[in-house]
């Protein structure tokens, strides 16, 4: 017999979860639009700045416009009106970035709420299949992104982060969705809580590090071409240092994931390492990021080359999560699809 009240409660919680996730997606979409708008401003400003003759910049500075930062110097007309427009521009730009942040925080709260409801509905941690893992891992990416803002302004990454999370939430709700079902015996272990959670933490840090590396490559290209760097975005060197710090944390989590996974594999499958497809790809990701860390210490490999390695490494993480889960048969076939 089915206990009716339990079934109803579970269905209700699952619905709460889905409503929260769909709402968060809508708000993430708004955040993405504002962040993109903000990015467009940053880039167009940089272009205008680069197009302006240096003499005029100096002249503008001498004219006491140090505070305006932006320089609509190619704009015809007397300076005072230009000053007004520039000031308005500055407000507008920070407004769109700030709105992006506000919407991201709102969406994230709903996102975390939806993930928690899913866990409550299932009566366990919400990361036992691909759908749930996507909810949790994307919530962690946004969470890390928000926490880092306290000591480092990363708003220029907002478009990348919200766009990425939005795409994955969309794929998860449409393609990865599975109903709440009980855990198969092999997953009934406290290692599910530890191993998978740390893996998603590692994924979050790698993802942000790779995003910074992408921006780093763009900045480095602009710098190399003599174009001004994108305004209000750190220099390529600063971005590289930031990306390194995030990726190193990701690497520690990933190492832990490998070790914890091996211990669990011994318990569940009778061997700690068996070159299962998922194991191989987790190992490949580990080696690529180990290579990244060494590249950062090798003369001639710092800068754009190591940034490329970070991006390749995160692509391998995504490959491991999507293609390996869906198209390869192995012991880690827990997508539920």
């Amino acid at each position: 017999m089915i206990p009716v009240h339990a079934a109803v409660t579970q269905a209700t919680l699952v619905n709460y979860s889905l409503v929260a996730i769909y709402s968060s997606m809508f708000i993430y979409a708004l955040a993405f639009i504002f962040f993109t708008y903000d990015l467009a401003w940053r880039v167009s400003e940089a272009r205008q700045l680069a197009a302006a003759p240096a003499v005029e910049v100096v002249a503008a500075k001498r004219a006491g416009q140090l505070t305006t930062k932006t320089a609509l110097l190619d704009r015809p007309g007397p300076v005072p009106p230009g000053f007004e427009v520039a000031a308005a521009t500055k407000v507008k730009r920070s407004l769109s970035a700030r709105l992006g942040m506000v919407f991201t925080v709102m969406a994230w709260l709903l996102h975390v709420g939806g993930t928690v409801f899913r866990g409550l509905a299932a009566g366990r941690v919400p990361w036992a299949n691909m759908f749930e893992f996507t909810l949790t891992a994307t919530a962690i990416i946004i969470g890390v992104f928000l926490v880092i803002q306290f000591w480092q302004d990363l708003q220029f990454l907002g478009a990348y982060v919200t766009g990425f999370v939005l795409v994955f939430l969309g794929v998860a709700t449409i393609n990865f969705y599975v109903d709440v079902i009980p855990l198969p015996p092999a997953l009934q272990s406290y290692w599910l809580v530890i191993h998978v959670f740390v893996a998603s933490l590692g994924t979050g840090f790698y993802g942000l590090g790779a995003g910074l590396s992408v921006v780093q490559l763009i900045q480095a290209r602009r710098e190399a071409r003599g174009l001004g760097p994108v305004r209000a975005v750190p220099t390529a060197e600063k971005l590289e240092a930031l990306a390194y710090r995030l990726i190193v944390v990701g690497f520690v989590f990933w190492t832990f994931t490998l070790i914890a996974g091996s211990i669990w594999a011994e318990h569940a499958w009778g061997r700690y390492w068996g070159w299962d497809t998922k194991e191989v790809w987790t190992f490949i990701v580990w080696v690529i990021f180990a290579g990244y860390i060494h590249a950062r210490a090798t003369r001639g490999w710092r800068g754009s080359r190591s940034a490329t390695l970070a991006i390749i490494g995160f692509s391998a993480v995504l490959f491991n999560f999507t293609i390996v889960n869906l198209y390869f048969h192995g012991l880690h076939s827990y997508s539920g699809l």
Binding site: W281, I288, A290, T298, L309
Partner: protein
């Protein structure tokens, strides 16, 4: 990249010459290297950062094909299917050993080279680090204002004694902050901290070598065996009682500890409430009685995530299934065969396939291929082809196809108990013959065709498939893995840095200067110098010069 000031090399971590932190050497052109020179050249190349990086990335790249193609070790059935589907391409892959990628010569060559390169890096660095641990910090640079994190106080009129006190305070402050300090000429303190960074770094790399050695040397001592036990039957840990065993190079049958396991009960639990998962397995528990010689027998349980550790072995519950108990009698009614036959599960609803072989007792050798459905779906619902819709024994049905002829058991070659080689057999009942197949429910008896005798399905019991492993490397590998992790954290997050505090006299006045130098990644260097400058200047009651 900012060029780094040269400094005393004796306390620096010794790194390959192409480490970005190493001093850049002028290109030396050697016209003739000679044999020793050439070898040294190759050794330098092999142990350089660039080669290590190349080999690392090559390992990652080389691991890819083995993940795209099924592997002999983890998925032997997949290999067979793959070869059948791609006969031509498989020959190419076989030639390169891609079905055994991770033990292939080329993969081994890459990682062995990588580890030689690693060892070639570790040994000199360890020697150097041991020496560096005993070396005091280097002399204070003449000019601090060119170094990172440079700060200074305002000028103050001051006597020699005050300067000595100021430098003494600097020494105490730095010591209290965990620095190793040396005072020079009574006017400056040179300090270094974070030696643990290099220690952790070395431990990380040495432990990686440790894992490789443990796996490589210990591999010969590993053996794994399989045993299927129906409920009520026993297993003795002797070589002859295993269904199959893959021994390592140094396996000796005498080393098996003769314990005995009896499967008293096996309880699978299937979901009954959740409408999305009716019939899904949610728990398997095997109840066994374990007797070790010289000890009292005990009751133990094995579950999927909790193996049994007994007699130097680990016993895992890796599979389970149904075993119909079948009795075959000859035409006179004499029992010629009666036993549970483990059937292999084919799907989640436990549709299972098994083989019955009766070499003796009947007028001909008889083989039967059986299909078992724990809950046969009514043909009105599921159509004519029988299938199971639930793994529990709700409506159990066994169907049999009967063959006669040569079972191939007399040739002396080992034969797979779970398959029937029908090449030398003639089918006499079931699909494709005139005689319909036999269908049995528990308690029912049917006649075999051609008056061969009868077959009865007595009941259906469960069996478990146990994997029994002996792996003395596990503890070693785990210990090294823990060291890898601890070394990694220490090597990455403890900053190695130098800090100098210097009293600079000019005329009758003095001011203090502060600066630092990172040895490796150190994003917080400036903050750390500023913090020390703040504390020190406050101690002396001096203001910082903005």
């Amino acid at each position: 990249m900012a060029s780094r000031p040269s400094s005393d090399q004796s306390t620096d971590p010794k790194r390959p010459s192409d480490h970005f932190d190493s001093p850049e050497l002028a290109e030396i052109t050697n016209p003739r290297l000679g044999v020793v020179g050439t070898l040294r050249f190759f050794w330098r190349q092999l142990t350089s950062m660039r080669t290590a990086l190349f080999l690392l990335l090559l390992v990652a790249f080389a691991a890819v094909p083995g993940s795209l193609v099924p592997q002999q070790t983890s998925d032997p059935n997949g290999v067979i299917q793959y070869k059948a589907a791609n006969p031509g391409w498989s020959k190419v892959l076989d030639f390169f050993g891609v079905f055994n990628t991770y033990s292939s010569i080329w993969f081994s060559a890459i990682y062995i080279l990588l580890f030689i390169s690693l060892i070639g890096c570790i040994i000199p660095r360890t020697m150097h680090h041991i020496a560096a641990l005993r070396t005091p910090p280097p002399k204070t640079p003449a000019r601090l204002d060119r170094l990172p994190g440079y700060l200074r106080t305002v000028d103050a009129p001051v006597s020699d004694e005050d300067v000595a006190d100021g430098v003494g305070a600097a020494r105490d402050l730095l010591r209290a902050s965990g620095y190793r300090v040396r005072v020079f000429d009574n006017d400056s303190a040179s300090a270094e901290r974070g030696y643990l960074r290099e220690t952790g770094n070395l431990i990380f790399h040495i432990a990686l070598v440790g894992i490789l050695v443990a796996v490589g040397l210990g591999g010969g001592f590993i053996w794994t065996g399989q045993k299927v036990i129906p409920v009520g039957q026993s297993f003795a840990n002797t070589l002859s009682d295993y269904d199959s065993i893959s021994p390592g190079r140094w396996f000796s049958p005498d080393s098996l500890e003769p314990y005995k396991l009896t499967l008293t009960k096996f309880t699978p639990v299937y979901e009954r409430h959740n409408l999305n998962a009716i019939g899904e397995a949610i728990d398997y528990t095997a109840y066994l009685r374990a007797s070790v010689p010289g000890q009292k027998a005990t009751n133990v349980t094995i579950k999927v995530n909790s193996p049994l550790r007994i007699g130097d072995t680990d016993v895992y519950l890796l599979s389970n299934g149904v075993a119909p108990v079948v009795t075959v009698r000859n035409p006179k009614g004499k029992v010629v065969y009666t036993q549970p036959i483990p059937f292999l599960p084919q799907d989640a609803d436990l549709t299972s396939e098994g083989v019955i072989k009766i070499p003796d007792g009947l007028s001909k050798q008889v083989g039967m291929i059986g299909l078992f459905y724990p809950t046969e779906c009514s043909p009105a619902v599921c159509g004519a082809a029988p299938r199971s819709v639930d793994p529990q024994l709700i409506n159990p049905v066994l169907t049999l196809q009967v063959y006669t002829g040569d079972l191939g058991l007399n040739s002396g070659k080992p034969v797979n108990a779970y398959s029937l080689d029908t090449d030398k057999l003639t089918q006499i009942s079931g699909f494709g013959t005139k005689t319909p197949g036999i269908t049995l429910r528990p308690g029912q008896t049917a006649k075999l065709p051609n008056g061969l005798g009868t077959v009865e399905l007595n009941r259906v019991i469960r069996y478990v498939g146990l994997d029994i492993h002996h792996d003395p490397t596990q503890l070693w590998v785990l210990s090294f893995a823990v060291l890898v992790f601890l070394g990694l954290i220490t090597g990455l997050f403890i900053p190695r840095r130098r800090v100098w505090i210097k009293a600079v006299r000019r005329g009758g006045k003095v001011h203090y200067e502060y600066a630092g130098l990172a040895r490796g990644e150190d994003p917080r260097l400036d903050d750390a110098v500023a913090e020390i400058a703040r504390k020190h200047s406050q101690l002396l009651g001096l203001n910082m010069k903005p």
